[in-house]
Subunit: 191 residues, 2 copies
DNA sequence: GGAGCAAACTAACAAGTGTTAGTTGGATTA
DNA sequence: TAATCCAACTAACACTTGTTAGTTTGCTCC
């Protein structure tokens, strides 16, 4: 539990996230992870409790970051469009901080066990809040009266896929990308 | 190779696709698949060659459908915006025909082995064609001069996520959904 | 120099993996 | 009726899985 051990544990989790992104949680073995760390599989257990625990840690910490970010956005007095831009920025920020972890959150959440219900609750709350913002935007005549679910689906799909693109586009800084994306998602692409 | 055997083989592949969607390729065992079919694992091998082969069949057939669809779109004389709408419709159509297979294509393509290179080639060609259409739209002043890669990323992310949403939205018919989506993706959401 | 400890190791485990071989029963065909 | 065949079965295989137990190594601090 001291400083050194925490650091080593974090190294393992970071490495695991990278492998999970490449092949998915189920296809990565503890021996794969150990090899990537330069040690033997059994040695991993000096630092972590189980494979399952690694996944929990990766996913739940990110999910809670999204929840906290959404909380802040919802409580602001900004317009709906402004809030949507803040959501875009939130996704860009969290994703650029932890690209590999985002892959696990997107693709391996169903392999959570004890924490699955908690995760689903966070996700549902997030999507509910997202949709309320869109509905308020429609009521306030900031947004076209399109189906709110389809709007959210479209935006969220793009934002959730960011983890695939950010690593390839290191020439974009997060702020620029967030602005660009907001423009495309909100204003559309046609002239 | 007769009619009955083909049908049974297709049943297995369909069932496999469903399981692969729920837990991912690596987490589904041949015993899981057999149980879902109501038979024993060994019996599966009367119909299929290997687990790997099932994945190949699922993914490659869809990837080729996309390639064929894109070929048709590219050869048309329509405007760029019209072509983009056709791409949206193509995704909606293929996805609604095989929601489960789309999950494998999106999430388990990296577990292809002999066919991995072929798949990647199809995907790259598809994305190249997609981007050319966008660039032509910008040159022709149909589209705002946004970064073509970001535009494609945004559209493609949404379209690739359709497999997650279509099953929940059976009240939308494909044609309506394609129209709605085109509007949001092309015209944006603000007033 | 010896106690304490973090972090690696070897060896082993029970359970689960994809797959093969050979067999059986019931329908179809000659 | 006899021969063929499909599609299921049981049994077994070699290997891989996550994990535990117990041991060793080298560092830090009194």
């Amino acid at each position: 539990m001291n400083q050194k051990s925490e650091t080593r544990k974090e190294e393992i989790i970071t490495t695991a996230a990278k492998l999970f992104k490449e092949k998915g949680y189920s296809a990565v073995t503890m021996r794969d992870l150990a090899t990537a760390m330069g040690i033997k599989a059994a040695s991993l257990y000096n630092h972590i409790n189980s494979k399952q625990d690694i996944l929990n840690t990766i996913i739940i910490s990110i999910a809670e970051a999204f929840t906290a970010g959404m909380e802040t956005i919802i409580q602001s007095e900004d317009s709906s469009i402004e809030k949507l831009k803040q959501i875009v920025a939130l996704h860009v920020k969290i994703t650029s901080n932890n690209t590999n972890g985002m892959a696990s959150l997107n693709n391996d959440w169903m392999h959570l066990e004890e924490q699955l219900d908690y995760y689903l609750q966070l996700r549902n709350d997030y999507e509910d809040n997202f949709q309320v913002i869109i509905q308020q935007g429609i009521v306030a005549n900031e947004l076209k009266p399109n189906n709110p679910e389809i709007i959210m689906f479209s935006m969220l799909s793009t934002l959730r896929s960011l983890y695939l693109w950010l690593p390839k586009k290191e020439d974009f800084n997060p702020a620029d990308l967030a602005m660009n994306l907001s423009e495309i998602l909100i204003d559309g692409i046609n002239t």
